[in-house]
Symmetry: C3
Subunit: 682 residues, 3 copies
């Protein structure tokens, strides 16, 4: 973790695109930013065609003026490299650098992300514009942070990609026999007798090979990371003291393993846009924020706590915890399929605090001023089309004032007694495999586990391969489809040492190459769980299977044979009548549970609450009523309790401390519907 120098308190601001406006607007912008107490803006994300309007002819004058104006206004800058959108002249000169779809369609410019990250011409041009920016602004006092690119995630299937993919595979497997073994090349006659025969998974006659698809996703993540690292290294060389990051975009289509990337960024930054309109939006927000914090911690650990893998001065996070930053969110918009829902009053603040409670060093938005034209003309902004005389901007001013009152919050970690496993590769493998049910979605399974723990009042960390497990009282593995031998051993060690574990269906089914482990599911976890699953029973969406404890299973059921475990809950009625649905297995000093069906939210919450209690994982704030989220940040000597009322009515929480929003010491907090409080405890 490497924090920008001189950026104290919490960051507040967003994407600022002055190039879309006449210069006369810029001073007004700075004035409005000051009114809202904005202290950090991201500049230049899509400005390549303005910065280099013709090949090799740079125009920095306008950006000089913008940065000077911002600096004069006391606002720091996350300066972006504009490489997510090459100018039209570039695409015309280098048509081979435009992306190609799985069908072989060479896409056109006229949007964003119109590049292939494997195209040599693109990589060279990206390095050049990044270097030019670094040379121009390395000493500009407004420069706080380098923001490389935007939302890495573009997929391409062209011939450049084919070449890079083959090189990646060669490095991974060494020889074709090992690749053939990993990919089960004998299925459907897919034995490769030369590396040049391997292609990206282009459109083909029928189903593709899951191992091929999985490795292509892994390759794309590494390939994009390589493009990032190239820019990072030259920026770092120019400005050793300025941290470098890129904003992660979340989504099932994104071929980026964010945990793996986190060792290469100085600061984890995420863009987050929830997709639900009801209370689900708050739960999605908590999910994303817990992921981001966990990636930051993962990255810190992999780099020995230094936040740096390459040469260069090490930067410690002085605050005690692996900080991260919410880099983009929508001030007044929840995007659902076909509809842009306007956020209710106060919701922007509540979402911001959900992130900050979980360690975000601030709240940043897309974007500062709503665009007049272009593809995202109705995207949300702090200054909407209606201008500053608007609810949206008034709330932006209020949020600025609130964050100012929380400025002591620029330190402090979050402690979680329970952990949920997260694995990008399992997600990808499940997407690339024809599973017994098309309704199985890795991300939904993980979100359900997180949501259940959240509703049970527990703060959750996510753990990815290589993370330390021993600190957690309870570990949940939801639908962890891929389990390597090494990972299975780590899980066994965790339980043997006294850990409590819940594994849910579809876990451990396959190895790291997406090859199913034979002999009974859940593969390498059979011994640990004391069971052997003989058969899957994917259920019709409408089916509900009654369970012996009064709850119901849906989506999925299994024929579970006991090989050491004891049944805890059973199926009742039907084909599986009397057979175990939930099992318990003492293992070493710990306990390993297995859940073979999907519970409804309430039953899942109750189950996990019980398991957490048995494991000694306490709620963050036992006094908080249901629907009031409680999260604690703390340093060595201070702790802050965030309370967020997601219910429809006023809630009172009997906790004491100094209310940072009012400055008053309280013995009890009363929160109106949607209201929030932050207490300095003690």
């Amino acid at each position: 973790m490497h924090w920008p120098k001189g950026l104290t308190g919490l960051c507040y601001g967003g994407d600022y695109n002055p190039e879309q406006w006449p210069a006369e607007v810029w001073p007004t912008d700075v004035e409005l930013m000051r009114r809202a107490r904005v202290n950090l803006v991201t500049v230049g994300v899509f400005a390549w065609s303005r910065l280099e309007p013709q090949p090799g002819r740079y125009d920095f004058d306008w950006l000089d003026r913008v940065l000077d104006l911002l600096h004069d206004g006391g606002i720091r800058v996350a300066l972006a490299t504009p490489t997510a959108s090459p100018p039209p002249w570039f695409s015309v000169r280098h048509p081979d650098a435009l992306p190609v779809t799985a069908d072989g369609v060479r896409l056109s410019h006229g949007s964003r992300d119109t590049y292939c990250a494997s195209a040599p011409a693109y990589r060279a041009a990206a390095r050049e514009i990044a270097a030019a920016l670094a040379a121009r602004y390395r000493d500009h006092p407004a420069l706080a942070l380098w923001h490389v690119h935007n939302e890495y995630g573009t997929t391409c299937y062209c011939e450049h990609v084919a070449i890079a993919f083959r090189a990646w595979l060669r490095a991974r497997y060494g020889d074709l026999d090992r690749l053939d073994e990993a990919w089960t090349g004998s299925f459907w006659s897919q034995h490769y007798s030369g590396w040049e025969q391997i292609r990206p998974p282009r459109a083909t006659q029928y189903l593709g090979n899951p191992s091929h698809l999985l490795d292509f996703r892994r390759f794309l993540s590494d390939e994009l990371l390589g493009a990032y690292v190239e820019q990072r290294d030259l920026l770092r060389a120019a400005t050793p003291d300025v941290p470098v990051t890129t904003n992660y975009v979340l989504g099932g289509w994104v071929p980026v393993d964010h945990a793996r990337w986190s060792a290469e960024v100085d600061l984890v930054a995420i863009d987050h846009y929830p997709g639900e309109v009801g209370p689900g939006a708050e739960e999605q927000t908590a999910f994303a924020a817990d992921l981001a914090r966990s990636w930051a911690r993962h990255g810190q650990r992999r780099t020995g706590g230094a936040g740096r893998t390459a040469a260069g001065p090490a930067h410690r996070d002085e605050s005690g915890g692996p900080a991260w930053l919410l880099m983009e969110s929508a001030p007044n918009l929840i995007l659902t399929p076909g509809r842009m829902h306007a956020k209710e009053p106060g919701r922007m603040t509540r979402h911001s605090l959900t992130h900050i409670a979980r360690g975000s060093r601030g709240a940043m938005f897309f974007q500062w001023r709503a665009s007049r034209g272009g593809a995202e003309v109705f995207h949300s902004a702090l200054v909407p089309h209606a201008g500053p005389d608007s609810r949206a901007f008034r709330e932006a001013v209020s949020l600025g004032a609130l964050l100012d009152r929380l400025s002591e919050m620029d330190a402090g970690g979050v402690e979680a007694p329970v952990a949920v496993a997260w694995d990008a590769a399992s997600w990808w493998a499940m997407q690339g495999t024809v599973l017994p049910s098309a309704q199985l979605d890795y991300s939904a399974e993980v979100a359900a586990a997180h949501r259940a723990l959240l509703r049970a009042g527990r703060t959750v960390d996510f753990v990815t391969d290589g993370d330390d497990l021993f600190g957690y009282a309870l570990l949940v593995l939801p639908a962890r489809y891929l389990v390597s031998d090494r990972y299975a051993a780590r899980i066994r060690d965790y339980v043997a040492a006294g850990g409590h574990l819940l594994v849910s269906y579809l876990s451990g089914v396959a190895d790291e190459h997406a090859r199913v482990r034979v002999g009974g599911y859940p593969g390498a976890l059979r011994d640990l769980l004391g069971i052997r699953v003989e058969e899957f029973h994917p259920l019709d969406p409408a089916t509900r299977l009654p369970l012996s404890d009064g709850s119901t299973g849906r989506l999925w059921a299994e024929t579970v044979r006991l090989t050491g475990a004891t049944p805890s809950v059973s199926y009742t009625g039907g084909l599986l009548d009397g057979q175990p649905a939930l099992t318990r297995h003492g293992y070493g000093d710990g306990v390993a549970w297995y859940l073979s069906t999907r519970l409804d939210d309430d039953a899942y919450r109750d189950l996990l609450a019980g398991l957490a209690e048995e494991a000694g994982a306490e709620p963050t704030c036992p006094a908080a009523p249901a629907g009031v989220e409680a999260v604690r940040r703390s340093t060595a000597d201070t702790s802050w309790l965030f309370l967020l009322n997601h219910t429809d009515s006023t809630q009172t929480v009997p906790v004491s401390g100094v209310d940072l929003l009012t400055g008053a010491r309280v013995e009890s907090v009363s929160l109106p519907s949607g209201g929030c409080a932050v207490l300095r405890e003690g």
Copy 2:
């Protein structure tokens, strides 16, 4: 308006494709046509590969015989140029003249419309075949009308199109800076440094640029118009006395601005196929007919009432009104998704009279005789597969007799006291923009306003930019997304001079380049309306917002701030409780209303009935009960009242005149369900 010489009374007939049948069938056809009193048929629409079976080798013999037979039978001919479907030999010779999709797929021949209108080889071939037809038939006595092409509307994204698009843009914008400003090139790095960098909006990585998409639609309209004009000019040169037209096809995918085209045709001709099975079919029919009449009037106005823009003798419409013609409709078919609904007995007649009441000079059908083969083998026809011994043909004979009794109706305009704005560019802009709600559809908004007025008993004109507004007591602007400064000024002038105006949501949001006007919606109409909209609230499809007058809003709501207007109806409950939904603003001598949500049909009808009454716009026939449509055609000294009973029961209307269907003078008309009457009034 330029009417075919010698075509008196009402036209009746349809597409006749004798080339699909052995020559023995032709005399039977003529005999059956005479039995049905058919007087005009369209010949040769898709006959290119018969007329020119090999390059440059023409075969006109069969057409000579057909035209002679028709002439001998007293039937006039709308002779088509067959350019909508080049022969296979042409496509094989000129593969570059086949259209290309947005994905870059070069389509194949084997259907119709397999041409790119920008391909030089196609344009040359089209001119040649048109010229050959003109040379052959210029003096044929059956020739009444030139029917150029068929349903212009094909879109192509090939390199020929790219070249033509650039030329069009260069003519429109002059220099790239103006284009850049209009297109907001600064968004996502889309600054063009050379004209050659601009492409048609081919498939790209993510969202396209709305201004780019809009201009491409405008260009396509002009490009297709150019192709039409080329043919028109050479036909006109050969036969100065024969009018030239083309049949418009309606639909959201059609890149043709029909109002703009109407200055270039001698006669507006539309094809109309309603898509609803219930009473909606009749309302769609009225909508299309009102559009056609309004386009004809618009075209007449733009050409100074002469129907001609190019050199050549001017032709006045002697009848006093801008006539138009229903060129295609389905005798016995309503096409719904996945189903060809057979029209109920009498419905063909009712639809025909709906058109004629609104000024159509007749009723023409696709097609005369049902095809045995080809792609549209189950399309409807006047002579169905079952032959003349069929309900369909018997109704065709009846309709012919009925139209004969209405032959005095070959003159007369329609007067409408209210107008609804229509703007193809707003439609296209809304299609090309990611709007806050995907359920917003320009055409549906305009249809809802038209339907409400229709149900309120008012006859409606549509007005497009440049049309005179002062004659209307009430003007409705539904979802008029694009409003230029000039158009805003015209609207202001209209209200200031005493006009009554209703503007609905999403109007005035953007300028003519699809750039949002900042400072508050509805942009340039804020002052006129005395309001400022701060925020949009797109609604979930199931949501109904109660309003203070007992009606409900759906689909959309807004935060409306009053800046001079007074609230008329308010939202009740929820976030917008007490805020205005409908506002009223006195402006000059007139009144400007704003409606910020979508009303249900009944409430919309009541609102518009009230506004019309306040404005002095009377129902066409106050005595007509609900569900009986009344439309009046009139000349200087005669008027005819059409009454169409769309209800399920007999309706009596106390009106007097001569019933043209019976010849009797009546003081009251009794209409069975589905029945129609036409009265010569006075």
Copy 3:
């Protein structure tokens, strides 16, 4: 019909893919096969890249060992030619042999079926690998059957296909005028002036030509058959005594006319995977089995009962009936959209007996051992991922024992008193035509007729063009869209000679070129039926039309005029009130019925039961209660009755004979829910 020598009793086994497993697994496989009494396995279906890992370098060693092991274990082999999946090296060498979609996308390898059957390089390579296999294994004692390719059915639109298509058309039509007439080239200007202008039906601007589409499907069937015959002939030359077959795949996308192919295989073999989870699965199974038997009979008839059309020794089916084989089915899987349903206990057996009752010489499965990797990793297998200690494998062992007890069943035909017409060309024509209702599906219409007869207790044959009709008491023509003059004459002869016939809507509408017959539907069957249909009334999916006998019509109705027939059931209410829905027409010594709407299943069953009774077609087992399926196989001197209880409760059937499963003589059979019995009668 040509049966493998030395294969006695019933075949049992499935696809065995040893190349996916280490050699250590093979002996275990053979041991498990012996435990399950497996006697036939299909080997090598997708092994090309293992057999020829590099161009021209063969590796047969592993296959030698596998065949030796199997032979030592007493298991016979259906040896596959692996031509359904060329190795990657082949596709890289011959990219022109990869298939091309209708959009022109050249597909990639990386799946199966990645070949174009018209590509010369592919055809040559396929011949070479087949010849190499024949040379290697012609004398191997395990070899029982040649299994050519897998599931022929791949469609391609490339230039090789275009060339072959043109040659096929030239052979069919001789000159372009005849093609033009057949294809109605005059519609939409599709007259071809040279053969080279004809293309496969690639993506085009709008609707394609139905006759073009139909002939392309016919061509594809013949083209694929040509590819099969090439392999068959060289295998036959190498091993005159070993029969040759290929496994048919069923489905609407498959461009194969299986009846026509059946004259070219020594043994009809089908793959069958029902798609319904409820009792529909059993009805789909019966449907497929009846089709397979009927194709086998058709093939036998066309080859004079010899099962051979080409030179070579004739093989008679000694058993008396045209045998066929279920080559693939899923042990424990019903694949529904998005879900792999696990078969309930006993269902695998019940499905197997459904096939065997209808003449299948055994029950074969895909596959022996569940794959660890590849695209179908969760497909079902006799040895599942869980291994032999599993319900799936235990049921496989039971089924093997059961089949052993039925070993006398390796002979015997099935007699059916009723026939349903089946016509691949009508299916294709209906798919390629824009019908008046998109819900019309040929296959669904035929299945509904079959299901109704099945529920009425009758055993059903399918008949295709050229089959003898006179043996059937009742013939049903459901939605027989295409009827040639010749076929119409055959049907007339059948009825005139005393046959009973039911024709349902959409029959006889078009001729063999998909040209509609004018003058009234159902075209060439009008006289026979004594009716003339004037108009179609496709119905909304929700509409139910009451009929005079208390049943209801849906989906479709017609205006039927009587020209000799008498009405039997009428429409009541609505537009068609009082008009005939079902008509009866005495013709010669027989009766011809016409049904103009779709009945619900129960009413259709009752109608067909009544017609069958009138025609003298008795139920197979009048004593069987509803829901107990009864099928009889018999030889000259023995008959076996299969009884399958598809109901939810125990059913008793008062029939006597020797129960082959127990060996006991019984006078009555009691079947638990899902239970089966096979009685040797007499």
